[in-house]
């Protein structure tokens, strides 16, 4: 479990060429999350959700403000599941898992990775190359890789957006089970309101320009399905907030398609 503190975070991309202007991706963004919590960042495309994940992971630095992640151990372990699973194509599945581990000897690392491959039912694919697997299998490898480091904080950037509706649906259920078995704090980016309501304990709604518009608690029993009555009701409330914010109500069109 981790404690995540974002304090007045700003991120500005300076112009890289003539005729370009600076872009404010994140504006005075602040929130705290800790414990075994599933937080969803929801907002329209281009509102800075993925940028914020990059700031949390350390891939990018904020222009001002700070993002602090404290874990149970000295340095917080951060797992990251990307939109595209980002696997080394020239390495086998097992090597891709081992790649991100930095502790223990080679044998221990491989054994631990195999355990997580078994958890996502892909132990048989350990010696295969990523291109030999389907999109859904690759994404499960990405999730297994992130979980295998036993993260304090798990970042997920629209991990199911490239998958077909049926695969995405089963993977949402699988993710809930895996998360409940782990102790990680999750920060999950999506533009799909229905997905956010199904998965999260809390929704942070972002607006264009990277501002925080609303912080909505989701207090529903688990496991949840997209078609659960409570989920659908809560989704309608969140969509209404979206409309108030003036953004495209994402999720209204996926409500039927993703079932």
């Amino acid at each position: 479990m981790a404690q995540l503190v974002a304090d007045h975070v700003n991120k500005v991309y300076e112009p890289t060429g003539r005729g370009q202007t600076a872009v404010q991706a994140i504006s005075d963004f602040g929130f705290e999350a800790s414990g075994h919590t599933f937080v969803c960042l929801v907002g329209p495309s281009g509102c800075g959700k993925s940028t914020f994940l990059n700031l949390v992971s350390g891939v990018e630095k904020p222009t001002s403000g700070s993002v602090t992640v404290t874990g149970e151990s000295k340095a917080a372990r951060i797992g990251y599941v990307f939109q595209d699973p980002r696997l080394l194509p020239w390495r086998t599945v097992l090597d891709n898992m081992v790649y991100v581990h930095d502790d223990g000897d080679r044998k221990t690392r491989r054994q631990r990775c195999m355990r997580f491959l078994e958890m996502v039912d892909l132990a048989h694919a350990a010696d295969m190359y990523p291109a030999q697997l389907s999109g859904g299998m690759r994404q499960r490898i990405g999730i297994a890789r992130a979980l295998s480091i036993e993260p304090d904080l798990l970042l997920m950037d629209e991990p199911f957006s490239h998958l077909d509706a049926i695969t995405a649906r089963s993977m949402r259920t699988e993710l809930q089970q895996l998360w409940q078995a782990s102790g990680a704090t999750v920060l999950f980016v999506t533009h799909d309101v229905n997905e956010a309501v199904q998965l999260s304990d809390r929704i942070l709604m972002m607006n264009k320009g990277g501002t925080l518009y609303a912080d909505i608690p989701i207090d529903l029993p688990r496991p949840r399905l997209q078609t659960d009555r409570d989920v659908v009701t809560q989704q309608a409330d969140v969509l209404a907030l979206f409309e108030q914010m003036g953004a495209e109500p994402v999720g209204a069109e996926t409500e039927g398609a993703n079932h």
Binding site: N54, S57, G58, R86, R91, Y99, Y129, A131
Partner: protein, 265 residues
């Protein structure tokens, strides 16, 4: 019985009309024409004369001695080319200031013919061992740098970000990501660098050495023995072809094994 005969005839006919037969015929024709041309003039070496010379050179013990000198120099110089070329090429792609600094230098070095370097080496270092090391390095490194630079520019940014997010140790980052991603560029560049370096080494041995295949070619050239000159030229071609086919091509294929594995799917 008659069926077997028909099949045998059919396969013979297919072989005679195959691409392979055409290639063998072309080679035989070339050898015949070469032999015929050699018979018309004493200044043109013949294939038979060249082979006879190489047998004599082997019996005298000169072939092995001089060839090993050249091979030893080539291995040392090309190892340096590999290290320098990959390091400089990668740094050029990684830091734009390094790229800006080396870009013109590499272009000039690529444009400079190897025989200029060979003559300069003869003037600067005489018949010492410095020239046979420095000249192949100067002639071959720019090719590998240019190719590696292209590879470094095209490193997959998403994978670099992933490695950064997971704080992958530097050694593993280079060994598992950077080098394999650049491998096709490095192998392509190194194959050309080996050819360029080998040619440059022959030249510097020709002009400024008392040992090696190039020196031996110069020796027989000065003696007016055209079979000797041709013989050593032939040896240099055979060696570099063998290295290219047996070592470099196999290494390049090995670096693409993961792609071949996926093509079946």
């Amino acid at each position: 019985m008659s069926t077997a005969t028909t099949t045998s005839r059919g396969s013979s006919w297919r072989w005679l009309t195959s691409d392979r037969a055409a290639r063998y015929t072309a080679r035989l024709l070339m050898l015949t024409l070469w032999q015929a041309a050699g018979l018309l003039s004493t200044r043109i070496p013949t294939p038979i004369g060249t082979i006879e010379f190489l047998i004599d050179e082997t019996m005298r013990g000169e072939l092995w001695v001089h060839l090993t000198w050249t091979l030893r120099r080539a291995v040392i110089a090309l190892s340096a080319v590999l290290v320098l070329g990959v390091a400089i090429g990668w740094a050029m792609g990684r830091w734009w200031r390094v790229g800006a600094y080396f870009r013109d230098v590499v272009t000039i070095m690529l444009a400079l013919p190897a025989f200029i370097w060979a003559l300069l080496a003869a003037m600067w270092w005489g018949f010492s061992e410095v020239g046979p090391f420095v000249v192949p390095v100067l002639a071959a490194t720019p090719m590998l740098v240019a190719s590696t630079f292209e590879g470094a520019k095209s490193l997959p940014k998403p994978l670099i970000e992933m490695s950064s997010a997971y704080r992958v140790p530097t050694g593993r980052f280079f060994g598992w990501l950077v080098l394999p991603a650049m491998a096709p560029y490095i192998f392509a560049g190194f194959r050309y660098a080996v050819l360029a370096g080998w040619g440059a080494l022959s030249l510097v041995e020709f002009f400024a050495s008392n040992w090696g295949a190039g020196y031996r070619a110069a020796f027989w050239y000065d003696a007016g023995n055209f079979d000797g000159l041709m013989g050593w030229g032939l040896i240099e071609i055979v060696v570099i072809l063998a290295v290219d086919r047996l070592v470099l091509e196999r290494l390049a294929r090995r670096s693409r094994r993961w792609q071949e594995g996926t093509e079946r799917w």
